[in-house]
């Protein structure tokens, strides 16, 4: 199995996004989303079949294509449309995908207010990642405008299931099987006037079958306080 095409979506350097479509010579395509093009809460790998005609369309400009999402190159317009179409289709067949979310869950004594940062695995394989706590943060906003951000504190343990099974993720690799939900409880101090919160989740991501991690970044959807 050899790679016949790699399409990368990116912004000018230093790029803030990392999405790529990889097509092999057996008619399989994989979409890897580690820093989504639009602020998103879901990262991981999707996999599915790709038609021969689509491969011809996608390889029209060579085996390596870079699509600048800020300034589209008119010469790559047709490839961009085809790549978007394939990527959109692949999103319905996750291979190893994690959705992150953050919700205030009220008081968990002795904490007056607690934030749950959650992860839900989906696909046919477990997701593997490790948080980089220094770069994770909780954003507070008011009326749609940012008011402050709080870095995550040093956490004593990683993601836990409702049955108190440890999934990892803090100072060691998390392994979250499909369909499993895990959460980390974080003490929260809400600034005056804030009415919504969201979390920036950053860390190292292990693509299926890879031992060297890559950076990922997800942004959870804003939640009312």
């Amino acid at each position: 199995m050899a790679t016949v095409l790699t399409v990368r979506w990116r912004t000018p350097p230093p790029t803030s996004i990392d999405e790529r479509l990889i097509v092999d010579d057996e008619g399989r395509a994989r979409l890897e989303v580690l820093r989504p093009r639009t602020l998103g809460d879901t990262v991981g790998s999707y996999e599915g079949a790709v038609e021969e005609a689509e491969v011809r369309e996608l390889t029209a400009a060579g085996p390596d294509v870079e699509l600048d999402v800020l300034a589209q190159d008119p010469r790559l317009a047709a490839i961009s449309v085809a790549a978007d179409r394939v990527a959109q289709r692949l999103r319905s067949s996750p291979l190893a995908v994690a959705q992150f979310f953050a919700r205030p869950v009220g008081a968990v004594p002795p904490l007056p207010a607690t934030l749950a940062i959650g992860v839900l695995g989906s696909g046919s394989q477990p997701v593997e990642f490790q948080l980089n706590l220094i770069e994770c943060a909780v954003y507070f906003s008011s009326g749609g405008k940012p008011v402050s951000l709080t870095p995550l504190p040093e956490l004593p343990i990683g993601f836990m299931t409702p049955d108190a099974e440890g999934l990892g993720g803090v100072r060691q690799r998390a392994i979250v099987p499909p369909g499993v939900i895990g959460a980390i409880s974080v003490p929260m101090a809400v600034p005056d006037g804030a009415d919504h919160l969201s979390a920036q989740v950053v860390g190292s991501w292990f693509l299926p079958g890879e031992s060297i991690p890559e950076e990922f970044e997800a942004h959870t959807a804003p939640q009312p306080l």
């Binding site: 912004t11 000018p12 350097p13 230093p14 803030s16 870079e66 800020l70 300034a71 979310f101 919700r103 869950v105 009220g106 968990v108 004594p109 904490l111 607690t114 749950a116 959650g118 490790q130 954003y139 405008k145 940012p146 008011v147 402050s148 951000l149 956490l155 004593p156 343990i157 990683g158 993601f159 836990m160 299931t161 409702p162 049955d163 108190a164 099974e165 440890g166 990892g168 803090v170 100072r171 060691q172 690799r173 939900i181 895990g182 959460a183 980390i184 409880s185 600034p191 005056d192 006037g193 190292s204 031992s211 060297i212 991690p213 890559e214």
Partner: protein, 341 residues
């Protein structure tokens, strides 16, 4: 306690405290949990993952270092991912990189029938670390304490409660959702308490053992990376500072280092050629040059390499201090950050 109370009906919830007390004392098998955690934590696969991940973190750490540049605040040097793959299989540098890695890290895992790792190699240094745990004030003594375990276990239970709350909240919005039946008798309550206490204890023990391993290997891995950087730096300095007349006297270069340095120089020359005359701003897009191997990002009031907006949250602390200490109440309303007007 709070999770069990939430899961129990009115008749059963008064027994929650008794069930928790039983499962955390009389029925709590601390020795078997500790034994499982140590056996699980020191198995080949988890240790390989931990050391591999920690080594990668150590290798990446220099890339995350900010450099203070006047007029730019903190500047970070970004290395293109393509640079990492220059030593991959089937690349010109693969042989040199493998030889250099074997010199630094050591041969494949020593064992029956395999060569013993040289004492200066990384593998030999890592193998010697557990012997340091028996000394007074060792990493084992400071990391694995009852307080550390208690903190991790309390956090595990809070996180499990948070996960349960998330599941309930998520399920509640699904059409046809029926909440799970409450625990209505002592038997299920005691079984549920047993599950939560034992699972969280296992998770806490695993975390504590993992943290011990990472804290133990981290200085050794960091020193190895520093040593590798130093070797490359020495070779670059030697090549760039030795005058032509002194090359013969300097003796032959380390062939692996010479190959790596030559490759680095070739990439830099290619970058220089491709960006020449493009007017490309190294902190932002602008020219027509292809992707660069090295870029720079500046972090300041305007965010990361952003020249068009100012981040409102950067001013929030100042505004809050102003509202608290200088605002004339009730004549003045609270001041707020408003960018762009």
């Amino acid at each position: 306690m709070s999770e069990l109370t939430a899961e129990s009906d009115a008749r059963t919830s008064p027994g929650v405290a008794r069930a928790v007390a039983f499962q955390t004392t009389k029925n709590f098998s601390n020795l078997s949990i500790a034994d499982q955690a140590v056996r699980g934590g020191f198995a080949v696969a988890p240790v390989s993952n931990l050391i591999g991940d920690a080594y990668w973190t150590a290798l990446q750490a220099p890339h995350a270092t900010n450099v203070a540049v006047a007029g730019f605040d903190d500047v970070r040097i970004n290395i293109s991912s393509g640079v990492y793959s220059t030593t991959g299989t089937a690349t010109p540098l693969a042989g040199s990189a493998t030889t250099e890695a074997t010199n630094v890290v050591g041969p494949a895992a020593p064992g029956p029938g395999l060569p013993v790792a040289p004492p200066t190699s990384l593998i030999a240094q890592l193998s010697g670390l557990p012997a340091t745990w028996s000394t007074v004030g060792s990493q084992l003594e400071t990391s694995v304490t009852s307080a550390t375990f208690a903190t991790a276990m309390a956090a595990a239970l809070k996180s499990a409660a948070a996960a349960a709350a998330l599941v309930t909240a998520a399920a509640a919005v699904l059409p046809g959702f029926a909440p799970p039946p409450k625990l209505s008798s002592a038997g299920p309550l005691y079984r549920r308490a047993f599950t939560l206490v034992n699972n969280s204890a296992k998770a806490a023990a695993k975390q504590v053992v993992g943290d011990l391993l990472v804290a133990t290997v981290k200085p050794t891995l960091a020193a190895s990376v520093t040593s590798l950087q130093s070797s490359i730096n020495s070779e670059v300095t030697r090549i760039t500072t030795t005058p032509p007349a002194g090359i013969a006297a300097a003796g032959p270069a380390d062939p692996q280092m010479a190959a790596i340095v030559a490759s680095m120089k070739a990439r830099l020359d290619a970058d220089k050629t491709s960006t020449a005359g493009t007017g490309r701003d190294p902190t932002k897009a602008g020219g027509s040059a292809p992707d660069q191997n090295v870029t720079y990002s500046a972090q300041g009031l305007m965010g990361s390499s952003n020249a068009s907006t100012v981040r409102a949250d950067q001013f929030q602390g100042m505004i809050e201090a102003f509202n608290t200490k200088l605002r004339k109440v009730p004549r003045e309303d609270k001041f707020a950050v408003d960018i762009g007007r």
